[in-house]
Symmetry: C3
Subunit: 653 residues, 3 copies
C-alpha cells in the first residue's frame, strides 16, 4: 500500500478537503501527520489547541484515509527551550546546540522526559481511540543530525548512573577499562567525565560504553513514549521512522518496543553524500537513479529489525540536503516504490504531499508542486497504485542467505579503526553488494539472532561475540563466512586473553597473531583458486592453533604473497584474514552459494533481482535496456523481458 506525509498546519484549512480527495484519487491509503507540530498543539505553555488537528483528521478520514499520528517531540517549541534550557544537547566540542531547527534536546534530559510524557499523554488521550488513527509514529528520525550523543552536564550525570548500574563497583569499571594504563583509575563513579575533549584519544573502552549508553538512552526515551501510547491507544500499531545511514544507536533494540519499523529512503541524497565506498564515477553514474544497492540494503536491514516494516518517507523528486541534489531519472519514483514492495514493505509513504515553499525544506520536492499542481512523483505514485491493483503481493519469504549486521561493530570501529580506511558500513556493503550482484536475496540478522534455515551466512565483522551470539554461530548449519576482526575484542573492548578470535577459536582453531592497516596504494595480493585479488586496508597474520579443541582443524584456502593463509576454513566455516573487496567476495561467496545449493545469477551493471513469495522482481537502475533471463514457464506480470531504462519487470513462478 501507499501513503504520504502531510502537514495540514502548513496549508490553508480550506484546501484540506481537496488535498484529501486528491490523495485518494492518487491511490494513497495512509497519511502520516503531526510529528513537528508542537508549537501548534501547545502554542503557549499548558494551553493545548487540538481543534485544528481534530478537523484535519476528520477531513482526511472522510476520504477513507488512515492516519499515522506522529508525536511532536523532535521539535519542542521555543518557550519550552527557554523555560528549560537543560533539555538542550551539547556537541562533541562542548558547545550547546541551540533552538532554531529540530532535534534540539538530549535524550538524557530528565526534564525533557517529563515534558515528553506530558505532551504524548495529552495527544494519546485525545486521539488514542480516534477511529481514523491507524497507528503512531514516535518522534522523528532519532539520531539524525548527530543527535544520539550529547556531551553536556545532563549527559554526564546520566552516564555515571548508567555505569554504576552496569559495573556496580568502581574497581570493576577500572578493571574492565584497563584504567591502570596512564593512571586513569577512578575512585568512585562521581569522578567520571565524558570522554570528549581529552588531551589526546580517551580510553576506547570508555568511548564504547558511552556509545552504548547513548544508544540505550534512545531506546529508553522511545520506550517511554511507547508505554503511554499503548496505554491510551489500544489496537493501533506503533512505529518509528529510522533514518538511513544513522548507525549511532541500536535499531534492533529500539524496535523491540515497536510494532513496525520504518525508514526514510532518499536514494539520491544517500548516493551523492552518505553511502561510503563509492568511487566518484559510481556516484556520477547512479546520480539520477541512486546506487542499486543503497535502498535494498536498508530494506533488508529494516525487515531484519522488524518483520512488519514500512518506508515511511520515500524520495519523490529532488531533495535539498545532499551536497548535490539532482533530479531523479523518469521512472525512478516508481522503481524505488516497487523495490521497497519487492523487499516486503507493508507501505511505501512518500515525503511529502506537497513541496512547502518556505523554511529549511523549501527545495525538497513533494508529490505536488508548490503551485498545487501534481509533480512527476504524483504520476509515478499513481501508476504504482494502479499496478498494485493488478498484482497481488504474496507474503515475503525467508531468504537463503543471512547477513549478520552489528551496530556495535560500527561504534567500536569508529572508536578504534586502527587505520583511516577501515569503516564498518563499507565492509558490510562489500558483502551485501557482492551478494546482490549474484542475484541473491539477503536477510539481515542481529548478532545473536537465529540463523536457522540459512544456507549461507555472512558476518562482515562482529568484533564482540557474546556468549549467545557464539552459541548461534556454533549451532548454525549453513556455511558461515566471518570477516576480518570478528571476535577480536571482549565485551570491554580488550584483546582476548588468548588472542583473537576469542570464543570463535573453538570453531575455527586459529589465532590472529598480528594485524596491520594499510594506506591507500599499499596493497597485498590474495591468491585463491588461481585468481589474484589486490586488497588493501587490512591484513592479519593467522596461525593455526596447535592445540585445537575438539579436533577441528583450520586450513588455509587462499594465501598472501608471503605464503601465509589469507582465508582459513574449518569445516563449513570460513575466516577472512584481510579486507575483502567486492570483487573477491563476488567470486568467493558465489562459489560457496553454489556449493550450498543456492542459484546465483551474474547480473550486469545496474540490474538487480529480488523475490517476494512466488514473484521475482527485476530492477534496471541504468539508462540502457537490460535483457532478462526469465525462466521457462514464468509469467510476466509487469514489464518486459528486456527491462526498459529505469524500469521494472515482475514475473511469477
Amino acid at each position: 500500500m501507499l501513503g504520504v506525509c502531510y502537514y495540514p498546519e502548513h496549508w490553508p484549512r480550506e484546501r484540506w478537503a481537496e488535498d484529501a480527495r486528491r490523495m485518494r484519487e492518487c491511490g494513497l491509503t495512509y497519511v502520516r501527520i503531526g510529528e513537528f507540530a508542537w508549537s501548534r498543539l501547545e502554542p503557549e505553555p499548558g494551553l493545548f489547541d487540538f481543534e485544528w488537528l481534530d478537523i484535519a483528521l476528520e477531513t482526511l478520514g472522510k476520504e477513507g484515509l488512515k492516519i499515522v499520528l506522529g508525536t511532536p517531540t523532535p521539535t519542542p517549541p521555543k518557550w519550552l527551550v527557554d523555560k528549560y534550557p537543560d533539555i538542550l544537547a551539547y556537541d562533541r566540542e562542548g558547545r550547546v546546540r541551540n533552538f532554531g531547527s529540530r532535534r534540539h534536546y538530549t535524550f538524557s534530559s530528565e526534564t525533557y522526559r517529563l515534558e515528553t510524557r506530558r505532551m504524548v499523554t495529552a495527544l494519546a488521550q485525545r486521539y488514542g481511540q480516534n477511529p481514523v488513527v491507524a497507528g503512531w509514529q514516535t518522534d522523528n528520525e532519532y539520531g539524525c543530525h548527530d543527535t544520539t550523543r550529547s556531551y553536556g552536564p545532563e549527559d554526564a550525570k546520566a552516564f555515571r548512573a548508567w555505569l554504576e548500574v552496569k559495573y556496580g563497583h568502581i574497581q570493576a569499571l577500572n578493571a574492565a577499562w584497563g584504567n591502570v594504563f596512564w593512571s586513569m583509575e577512578y575512585r568512585h563513579f562521581g569522578e567520571i567525565d565524558l570522554p570528549n575533549l581529552a588531551v589526546t584519544e580517551a580510553n576506547p573502552s570508555a568511548w564504547l560504553d558511552f556509545y552504548r549508553f547513548s544508544s540505550d538512552q534512545v531506546a529508553a526515551y522511545n520506550q517511554l513514549q511507547v508505554e503511554i501510547l499503548r496505554a491510551h491507544s489500544p489496537g493501533r500499531f506503533i512505529a518509528h521512522n529510522f533514518m538511513g545511514f544513522v548507525t549511532d544507536f541500536d535499531h534492533f533494540k529500539v524496535a523491540q518496543d515497536l510494532d513496525v519499523s520504518s525508514w526514510d529512503s532518499y536514494p539520491l541524497g544517500f548516493t551523492d553524500s552518505r553511502m561510503p565506498g563509492l568511487s566518484d564515477t559510481e556516484r556520477v553514474f547512479y546520480a539520477r537513479s541512486g546506487h542499486p544497492d543503497v535502498s535494498a540494503f536498508h530494506h533488508d536491514l529494516y525487515r531484519g529489525v522488524k518483520a512488519r516494516w514500512w518506508v515511511m518517507e520515500q524520495q519523490p523528486g529532488p531533495v535539498n540536503w545532499a551536497y548535490h541534489n539532482p533530479s531523479p531519472a523518469p521512472g525512478m519514483v516508481r522503481l524505488w516504490t516497487w523495490e521497497a514492495l519487492a523487499h516486503g514493505a507493508e507501505v511505501v509513504s512518500y515525503f511529502r504531499w506537497r513541496q512547502f515553499p518556505q523554511a529549511q525544506e523549501q527545495m525538497h520536492a513533494g508529490l505536488n508542486r508548490p503551485d498545487f499542481r501534481p509533480d512527476v512523483g504524483y504520476s509515478e505514485a499513481q501508476q504504482v497504485a494502479q499496478e498494485l491493483q493488478k498484482i497481488s503481493l504474496p507474503d515475503t519469504s525467508k531468504a537463503r542467505v543471512a547477513l549478520v549486521y552489528d551496530y556495535e561493530a560500527d561504534w567500536l570501529y569508529s572508536i578504534q579503526p586502527q587505520g583511516y580506511s577501515w569503516d564498518y558500513t563499507s565492509l558490510a556493503l562489500n558483502f551485501y553488494r557482492a551478494l546482490r550482484s549474484l542475484g541473491l536475496d539477503v536477510d539481515f540478522v542481529k548478532p545473536g539472532g537465529s540463523l536457522e534455515g540459512y544456507a549461507l551466512v555472512v558476518v562482515p565483522s562482529t568484533p564482540i561475540v557474546r556468549d549467545a551470539t557464539f552459541e548461534v554461530f556454533k549451532s548454525a548449519m549453513g556455511t558461515t563466512v566471518f570477516g576480518p576482526r570478528t571476535d577480536s575484542k571482549t565485551e570491554s573492548l580488550n584483546i582476548p586473553a588468548n588472542l583473537p578470535p576469542g570464543k570463535l577459536g573453538q570453531l575455527i582453531p586459529i589465532k590472529v597473531a598480528r594485524v596491520e592497516s594499510l594506506r591507500p596504494g599499499l596493497s597485498t595480493t590474495v591468491t585463491w583458486e588461481g585468481g589474484q585479488y589486490q586488497t588493501s586496508v587490512w591484513r592479519e597474520w593467522v596461525e593455526s592453533d596447535p592445540q585445537p579443541l575438539g579436533g577441528a582443524v583450520a586450513t588455509p584456502t587462499a594465501t598472501f604473497e608471503d605464503g601465509k593463509g589469507a582465508v582459513w576454513q574449518s569445516e563449513n566455516r570460513h575466516y577472512l584474514a584481510f579486507w575483502p573487496t567486492q570483487e573477491f567476495l563476488t567470486n568467493y561467496l558465489g562459489k560457496l552459494a553454489q556449493a550450498a545449493g543456492i542459484q546465483t545469477h551474474a547480473l550486469p551493471e545496474g540490474l538487480r533481482l529480488r523475490r517476494r513469495g512466488n514473484l521475482t522482481f527485476a530492477f534496471n537502475y541504468t539508462a540502457d535496456p537490460r535483457p532478462l533471463n526469465v525462466p521457462e514457464g514464468a509469467k510476466l506480470v509487469l514489464g518486459n523481458r528486456v527491462v526498459e531504462p529505469y524500469g521494472v519487470a515482475v514475473w511469477k513462478g
Copy 2:
C-alpha cells in the same frame, strides 16, 4: 592622479620631510593617513595627542600634498577594549574575537558607537577645516576578516530590535519565515536567537534577515561617522575603502552616504587565494600579473557603486597575506595603475609608502623598501605620473553593456546554494569574463538601478526581484539576459506562489517547474545554433506558461539533451535555465551584442581592452607580445601596436 598611504607614526619624525619631498618627486598628489592610529591619538583614556598629527599634516602640506584623513576606528586601543569588553565581536562558533590585530569590534555595540562618536568628533573638530585635508576615509575595509557578522549578545539584542522594526508584529515574522515548519514559531521578538549554532541548518529566511541586518549595521555605523564629518568638515569629500571580494554587506547602500567609493586592489593576492572559479593552471599562469579580469571587475563594480571612485590601496609589490605571495612581473604596477585609470579611477593610491619592517605586514612591499631605498613599485608609479602629464584623461563615458550586480544574491545563495558548486561570484564572473573577452566595456548597476541607454543588460542571477527592480527590467529597452534562479524567491526567501520566475513571468512567460544541482562530473549538454556546450552545477525544467499575460510568448532557443528548453526568449529578453559557462556566454552574449549593434573583439588570452572617452587602452597580462588591431586613423599615445609583455598601449579615436 596618484596617491599613497603613509603612516608617519611608524617612522622617526625627522624623516617625514624627506618622505614628503620624495612623494612629490615621485609625482604623487594624495596621501592617506591616520586610519590605524587611535593608540597614538588617544594614548590614555580621554587624553588626546594631536601634536604629532598636526606636524605630519603640516610637513606633507608643505610639499603640496593633499591629505585623506582616516578615522582610526578599525583599531580601538587595548585600554578601550578592557574598559568596554562589550564592544568585541563573536564568531559564528560563539567565541569572542579578541584584541590583538584589527577590526575587533561589532557594529552592533552601542558602546562602540558612542566611543566612535567621541573619537571622530574630536578628530573632525581638530582637522575638519584644515586646508591640507582634502577628504576623509571612514574606518578601513569594513567587513574584512569576516567582521560584518557577529554572533554575540549585543548582536542578538540589535537583531531583535531590527526585526521588530521590520515586521511590527511577531506573527508577521512567523508568516514570512514560515516558522510553522518544525515548530519554529516565536511568541514575541524577545524569543528570537541568532541563527548560528542550531542543531542543523537554521531557517534560511532567518539567516537572510540576519545577513541583511548585519549589512544594515555597517551602513548605519558608517552613516554615524559621515554625519559627524559632514558637520565639522564642509567641502571635503568622504570615502571608504572597500575590500575586494568582501560581499557580506551592500556596498551600494553604504556608499549612498559617501562622496567617493574606493577599493583596495591586490591582484596577485586575489588571483592566488580569493578569486573563485579559476583552475590551478590559470592561477599559475596569472600568478605574477593577476587575472586580467580581477581588478577590472572591481573597478567596474565600484564605479557602479559611486560615480567618483578611487583605488585607495594599490598593490605595489609582493604582499604577505595570500596563501602564496609571488612578485609581480616587471611592469605590472604600472599596468594595474593604467587599468584603474582606464576604468575611470579618479586617483590610484599605492599601499604603502614604505614597507614597515615590523608586525603583521612586515612582508608587505611598499613603494620603498625598509632600507629607505626605492623599490620597483616606486619607479613604476613615477613612470605613470610622468606619462599622465602627457595624456589628458577624458571623462569616463557610459558603457553599452550593463551587468546587474546583487549583493543580496550572494548572501542568499551562500545560505541556500542547493548544490555545493553554486557560487554567486563565480557566476557573475562567468558573465563578466565573457564580456571582457569580447573586448566590451561594462557598467555595474545595482538591482533597481537605471538601465536606460544600455543596449545589452546581463543579470547573472537576482533571486529576489523587488517591484522597483521589476519595473526597471520591464522598461529596459536593451536586450536583457537573465541567468538561472533569477526571481526564484520572494523577499522573505520563499518560493513564489506561482513558481519562479515570480513577477518576471510577466515578461518571459515561463515557469520553472523543477531544478537540480549537479556534482562535478555530472554534466548536461546544451545545444545552441549547432554548437554543443557541456554544463554542470545547475539545471532547470522550464515550462512555457500556457496562459501568459499580455500575449507574450516564450520560445526555447537552445535545448537540453532531453529536448527541453535550455534558453528561453521572449522578445528581447532571454532566460538561461542552466549554469552558463564562460565559453557559452562568450558565444551567446557575443551574438546578442552584435545583434544589438555593439562591436565585439575576439581577444587572445590575456589581452584586454577598455575605453575612457575617446581613448582606448589595451593591456597585456602575459609574458608574450600581443599584436593589436588598432583602427585606421587612430593615434597611439602610449605603447606600440604590438603590446609588449605586461605592457600597455593607448590610442585615441
Copy 3:
C-alpha cells in the same frame, strides 16, 4: 646495550619474576619503569603506596637488570585534577583540555609545579639511592599531543611575568614588537593577552615570544624535576625521552639540565603520518621499513642535543597511533636497532615488553604478544643482543659535516611562513637527505654551537642569527652553505634595518631586496654548472652589496632564468637564494664536499651508510638486495657484500 619499557602495574605480580628472567634471556640490560603510575603510587591524596614498586624493582634487580625510573608526572590522577582544575591546559581554541588520556597539565601551573615537587621528592627519597636504579627519566615525551603551548589564564599570567622579565619596561616591548602598528600598544604588562583568538593574525613578534616563553616553561619544569632528583639520587643519570618531530620547544635547552638525551623512535608511524616532504609513492615504498633517513635524522639530532643519548622507545612491531599502521618488514626491528647503535646510541630500549590488551595502546605491539608468547620483535632484539656480543662498538667519532639545526626557526616559520609550502623541517630534511644520499655522516649543531673541525657546514635556514652565532659562523673554517632566509630577522622578528641578511652581510656582502613565495606548479629554474634545476616554494632577489665591509665580494655561482644570482659565494661561504630541492643539494653539496676533501658515495635508493669509529655500517631499507662497495682490505664483521633485503652489513677499516 639494549633495554625495554615495562609496566609491572599492568600485570599480575606473580608474572614479574618470569618477565625479568626472560628479559635477561633476551639480552636486555635496562628496564624503564614507572612513568605513568601516579594513580598506583598515590591512589588517594597524600597516601603513597610504594610497596608494589619496591617489589618490582627488587624482582628486576635480581636478574641483574638496571632500572630507569620515570617520574609519573605525565599522568596526574583524577583526584588531583578535580582538586586543582587550574592545572589543566587550554587549547588554541580556548577550550579546557580535560582528564581522560595523558599530559593533561600546563607547564605554567604553579599548582602543578608544587604537586610535581611533592611527588618527585617522595619518589626520589624512596628510590634515589636504590642500587637497582641506574638513572631517571623525567616525565614522558614533553610536548607530545601539542602540549607545549597552552592558552589558559595560568598561561597568560606566566606569560606576562616572563615578558616583564625580558623587557623590563612596556615601551621596550612595544618598540620590539612594533605595536604602533594597528594601535596594538600596551600601557602596562597587565594588558597583554595571549595571541590566540584574535580577529585575524596577531603580531608575529608576540607569537614568537609566546612560543619562546612556552619553550622556556618546559625547560623550567624539567629543571625543577632535575634539581630534586640530583639532590636525592647522587650518581644516577637523568634523561628525558623526547618525541620525534616534536619541535615546539628547544630540546637543546631542556637537555642542558640532563645527562642523557633520548628519543622515541617509531619509523613506520613517522613515515606514514609525520615526516614532511614525502610523496605518496615514497610513503608506500617505505611503509614497512620507514624512510631510510627518518630515524637517522633524529639520531643525529639527539646526539647533537647531548653526547650521551639513547633510543628510549624503539618501535617493535605495528603501532596504533598513525593514520595507517603496517607491520614492519622482517628484519626491520634489528635494522633499526643497529642503525641507532651505528649513530652512537648508548642504549636502544624497546617499547614495550608486552602488548597490553587494554586501553588506548592495546593495538601497539610489544616484544611479546598479549598471550605472553614472544612476538617477532623479541627474536630480532635477541639477535642484536647476540650480535653485540661479537662486535665491540668503538666510540662515536666526530663527523666531517655539520648541520645547524634551529628550533626557533621552526617556530618562526610556522608563525610567518609567507607561503603555504614553506616548512622548516622539510627544508632541513632536504639538506639532510642530500647528505645521507651522498653516504656522509652528519653532526647536528645548535645555532651558536661550535663548528670547529667541520669541513662542511650546512645551515638550512636560521632566520635569527644572534651575536654568538654570528661569531661562530665568522670563525668557521669549513665551507659553509646558508639556506634561504638565513639572518632575515632580528631577535624581535623584525626585518633588519639594512635588509637581510643582517650581520651575515658582513661575511657575504649581499642584500635580499625582495622575496617571493610560489604556489605549487609555479616554479623557477636555477642553472648551475650547465645543469638546470626546477625549484618552487621560494625565491629571493639578491643584490651584491655595493659597499661591502672588509673588501669581501659576493659573486653568483648559479642563476635564475632572469639572469639574477641564485647562489652567491663569498670565499668559502655560499648563500642559496631559493628553496633548494634534494636533487640540487645532492649535486651542489656533493661538489662542495669533494672540494673539501670529503669522500662521497652515490648510494642507490634505500641504501645508507654510517660510520662509528673504525666500523662502517650499511643498511638496506628495501626489499631488494643491494651490492656494496666494501673497500679493499676491509673486514666484514656482520652481513655480506650484497646486503640482503632489510639487512645490515658492518665492516672494519
